[in-house]
């Protein structure tokens, strides 16, 4: 373990091109997919909690089911869709970072929506009452609701971010872990393990945690300011 920690720090300050490519692909995939999932999922969550329409309960149950989809199943689905013989082959998304992002968004959006719904269901009554008292339009009420749940938004985002970065099952299937193209930190750890290089794998794991720590500290500072 000590050796792996040492190597993680050596790696951090090294100029190993493959490593930095892995880190940059990881960050590109994680940030894009978590932001897209937030943009899609947060309004959905507000809709689930705030709007009243037939089939709402069923939608919430469906959403909760999707929250538990095993990543490999999602990966397999995307693999079949984007394959050379799949129905979406002309998009040419298989073995690309964009394909990985699509799979990630499919996985994380229900999680973001579900978390937002859970949080909002406790406070939505009050917000709705206030909005009615102020005679706010529907659109305004929607934005007020989002504005009132900033704290939950940040933590939901972080949760989605964590899921996106830690994901391995879906991205290895859709991305194919191709060096200098779609190899991310989790798939690289798998690859190094397969080569018997546990120390390097563990070092990458430490690096992954460090990045996550930095992002969380940043988010915490933001959250404190907005609280």
């Amino acid at each position: 373990m000590g050796k792996a920690l040492q190597q993680a720090f050596d790696l951090l300050f090294s100029s190993d091109a493959e490593l930095w490519n892995i880190v940059s692909v990881t960050m590109r995939m994680t940030l894009t997919s978590s932001i897209a999932a937030l943009l899609l999922g947060a309004p959905l969550g507000v809709l689930y909690a705030g709007a009243r329409f037939p089939g709402r309960k069923a939608l919430i149950v469906l959403n909760r089911t999707l929250m538990g989809v095993p990543p490999v199943v999602c990966g397999l689905l995307c693999y079949l869709l984007f394959s050379g013989v799949g129905p979406l082959r002309h998009l040419q998304l298989l073995f690309t970072v964009n394909g990985m992002i699509v799979a990630q968004v499919m996985l994380i959006t229900p999680i973001v929506a579900g978390n937002m719904e859970t949080y909002l269901s406790g406070v939505i009554g009050e917000i709705r009452e206030t909005a009615r008292g102020l005679r706010l339009s529907r659109a305004k009420t929607f934005f007020v609701t989002l504005g009132e749940s900033k704290y939950a938004l940040v933590s939901t985002y972080l949760f989605g971010f964590g899921r996106a970065m830690a994901e391995v099952g879906a991205v290895s299937m859709v991305g194919g872990a191709i060096a200098f193209k779609t190899n991310v930190m989790t798939t690289a750890i798998m690859m190094y393990t397969n080569r018997g290089d546990f120390t390097l794998g563990l070092a990458l794991g430490v690096l992954l945690l460090l990045i996550s720590l930095i992002i969380n500290v940043l988010a915490h500072l933001l959250q404190r300011r907005s609280a």
Binding site: S83, G84, I178, F180
Partner: protein, 352 residues
């Protein structure tokens, strides 16, 4: 409110620019250059290499090579181009006609792999690091004299679906940069066991395959998924080989090292019910392994065929490295290609 949104946007853009966009463009060429210089360095024949990788009791591993160099342990690697007019079907079994296959790129890579330059590189691979070559060129391999075209936009990306052994042993990372820098192509390597590598090609996700299981290759050719390229006489272009080795605990309770041939060694393991780790993933190594057991056991690549032996036979469905780790932990016997084992051992094979 506006200020905060601005702040968040700024923070995101900062992170994005630091990690994302700025890096991607610059890293790849650097890396190619780096590897290319390495290749240049190894091309110069060095003096007789010091043999460092030979059985070394202090390597930290509990397992070692017990049996090798048996004729039935030869491990042949073949290149097969994917036929763009193959009978592709989608997941529902319906025919798909317009599958995009880069035949020109695949032929360029095959021509290069069968040429003299690649042969020299392959023969030298591993000599310095492991004290012996990891792969050997077949003397009767098909030879290519065709002129290799430079890439054009439509043929630039070549998708190579291959087995873990050539990738995990580092062979492709060592070979391909030379080809890429000379002819401008980008080779995208996806590696999995032979079974999965072939399945990927059948789903239109590869332009060529590099695999090592004769029976599976022949089935692939029979199904019409490969074709004979101009200047060759066969779909299966077998061009290099190495050896499978039987690996097991250093104290060798089954006395495999004293076996007369590899089948005898396998019979000894089965007889004593000593723990054995099988890849169980339809890889070339798995297909080879099931052919070595005594016929009376009726072991096939099907998991149901080993159900009765589950107390000593682990059908693991994992890559070579993971299985080697398992064997090391369980003090078990295992069949591996030699290249992966040597690389595994040199990389430490244990948590340092």
């Amino acid at each position: 409110m506006k200020k905060r949104i601005l702040l968040i946007a700024l923070a995101l853009m900062l992170t994005l620019s630091v990690f994302g966009c700025a890096k991607t463009d610059t890293t790849a060429p650097e890396a190619t250059a780096e590897v290319a210089t390495e290749v240049m360095a190894t091309e110069v024949p060095t003096e007789a290499p010091a043999i460092t990788a030979e059985p070394n009791q202090e390597d930290g591993l509990g397992i070692t090579i017990l049996f090798e160099q048996d004729d039935s342990l030869i491990n042949n690697y073949s290149l097969l181009a994917v036929n763009e007019a193959a009978p592709f079907v989608d997941a529902d079994g319906k025919a798909v006609a317009d599958v995009a296959i880069n035949t020109v790129g695949a032929k360029a890579l095959i021509d290069w792999m069968l040429g003299d330059e690649a042969a020299t590189l392959i023969a030298n691979y591993g000599v310095e690091q492991y004290g012996e070559a990891l792969f050997y060129i077949k003397e009767d391999k098909p030879v290519s004299t065709a002129e290799i075209p430079q890439e054009i936009d439509e043929t630039k990306t070549i998708r190579l679906s291959t087995t873990t052994s050539v990738n995990d042993s580092g062979l492709l990372a060592y070979l391909l940069p030379t080809f890429e820098s000379e002819y401008g192509y980008t080779v995208e390597v996806a590696s999995a066991g032979t079974g999965k590598a072939i399945a990927a090609a059948q789903m239109g996700n590869a332009d060529l395959i590099l695999v090592h299981s004769k029976s599976q290759e022949e089935a692939y050719v029979t199904a019409g998924f490969s074709k004979i390229l101009d200047g060759y006489t066969s779909e299966r272009l077998t061009f290099m080989y190495n050896f499978f080795v039987l690996i097991g605990p250093k104290d060798d309770p089954a006395k495999c090292a004293e076996a007369t041939d590899v089948k005898d060694a396998f019979a000894r393991i089965a007889e004593g019910k000593f723990p054995f780790v099988s890849r169980g993933d339809l890889s070339g190594t798995h297909t080879k392994e099931v052919s070595l057991w005594p016929e009376s056991l009726a072991i096939t690549t099907d998991a149901a065929s080993v159900e009765a032996y589950s107390e000593w036979y682990a059908y693991s469905n994992a890559g070579m490295g993971v299985c080697l780790t398992m064997a090391n932990e369980m003090n078990a016997y295992i069949l591996s290609d030699k290249a992966t084992f040597l690389a595994f051992r040199a990389n430490g094979g244990t948590v340092g």
